[in-house]
């Protein structure tokens, strides 16, 4: 049972795509969570729900429509929150609840909506295809290049925003770029773990990594490696145990966070 998993194609697909998604979500995680943008991930998950709903109605591959709608929504959120009168949290709340509501209305008026809402909410890791793997790989390549090329600005953007403006770089373009890439990543994440759970893939890695109080680069490395490990572990145990992989990822991450927190707590006490 525990070995024959690797003889199923759909399980191999699940490991590849799950691993890729875990890598990219963890890579952008510190730049979002430490910038107090955790809600952004949640908001974008709601808008990609709308994207998938519209996509299902219009085309064979709803993920393309979802990618487009989520990127537009991410720019919209950034734009609304750049207006001084509305703060970022509120902007995310407005755009995400609106798009979620529209999605639900469309489902209720469309007769014969043939995708279960449950699969949109909790993901469908075991029914991915080669097309999903290609999209996710391209996305992973874009994300890695973005972070490598703009690392120093991304770093300053979180640590000391004003300093970027002074070094005459467009902080705002960086913000839009990051939020658009997050949107694309989250769409793929919705397919894997579902709209309800995807934000956890962004939030947990940084929460876990920051418990170790290392340099920023090491924090990213810890974030990426724990994310990959928890994802592969969760997929591996979920199939024989017959539990949903997506929920398993969240529970595994929460357990690792607890252990990391306890490690830090007791280490701190020992030092004192």
């Amino acid at each position: 049972m525990w070995i024959e998993i690797f003889t199923y194609n759909f399980m191999i697909f699940a490991f590849i795509i799950g691993g890729l998604v875990a890598l990219v979500t963890a890579l952008i995680s510190p730049f979002i969570v430490l910038n107090n943008q955790s809600m952004l991930a949640d908001g974008l998950a709601h808008t990609s729900f709308l994207g998938f709903v519209i996509g299902v109605i219009l085309v064979d591959q709803p993920i393309y429509i979802a990618l487009i709608i989520a990127s537009i929504a991410s720019l919209l959120i950034k734009f609304i929150s750049s207006k001084a009168s509305i703060n970022n949290d509120a902007a995310i709340g407005v755009v995400s609840s609106l798009s979620f509501a529209i999605g639900l209305i469309i489902i209720s008026v469309t007769s014969g909506f043939n995708v279960s809402i449950e699969s949109l909410m909790t993901g469908s890791l075991l029914t991915t295809n080669i097309n999903d793997i290609i999209i996710t790989s391209v996305l992973a390549a874009i994300t890695f290049s973005f972070v490598l090329i703009y690392y120093r600005y991304l770093y300053q953007n979180v640590f000391d925003k004003e300093n970027i403006v002074i070094s005459r770089k467009k902080s705002i373009l960086l913000d839009y770029g990051l939020s658009m890439i997050s949107a694309l990543i989250i769409v793929v994440g919705v397919k894997i773990v579902g709209a309800l759970l995807v934000s956890s893939l962004i939030i947990f890695p940084t929460l876990i990594a920051t418990q170790f109080k290392r340099s920023f680069k090491t924090t990213i490395l810890i974030s990426v490696s724990t994310s990959l490990a928890t994802m592969l572990f969760s997929i591996y145990i979920s199939y024989p145990l017959d539990i949903p992989a997506s929920s398993t990822v969240v529970v595994t991450n929460a357990s690792v966070l607890l252990i990391a927190y306890l490690y830090r707590y007791f280490k701190g006490r020992l030092v004192k």
């Binding site: 430490l34 910038n35 490598l148 690392y151 120093r152 770093y155 300053q156 979180v158 640590f159 000391d160 004003e162 300093n163 403006v165 002074i166 005459r168 990594a209 920051t210 109080k213 290392r214 340099s215 920023f216 680069k217 924090t219």
Partner: protein, 225 residues
Amino acid sequence: MIHIRDLTVKFNQISVLENISVDVNRGEIVHILGPNGSGKTTLIKILLGLIRPTSGEVKIASTRIGYLPQIIKVNANFPTTVGEVIYSGFSQQSLLMKKQQIALIKTWLTKMEIPDLFDKQFSELSGGQRQRVLLIRAIIAKPDLLVLDEPTSALDPEFRRHFYEIINELNMEGMTILNITHDLDSHYVNCSNNVLYLDRKVRYYGSACDFQNDFGNKEHHHHVD
């Protein structure tokens, strides 16, 4: 180096700065003083391009600006080491720090009397240590204009003297320095320094020594020894 003409800044119709006209030559030190809410930080943010003026003209002939913000402005929960923070001030950066860059950072840490902090978490430093680290970040790339926003607010009096020695040294090498301060102490200031006293308008702009003689005695907002 800096040319400001008829600068006015308004927030919600309320003017924060009115008709400011100031020229700063290359190689000068200007201490900017004034009561709270007098527009000191606003003026600096205009120069740095963080805020747009409502009207007026601002020209800066600088190729590189170093900026020391008030320490409360940086994200203190950020997991990063002192070495990384200072490294982010270099104009040439790669994924891994170069040996001579690390050596330069360590030389400066020693000069600031915090030699062992390279691998320390920035969030675990005291206010005074953070201020010194951010100062090193501001000057490590040898800017021609250095802007300091209350640089000594968290420093103990003893190090404060040393701090101004370092500032004067940098100035000798040709760096132009703007320094917002609440405590202008004659021990650190010499007569070639200028003082800009702001209270929405320019109340005084000229030699630091004349300021202390003529203006300082009448002002109670600041103690000027």
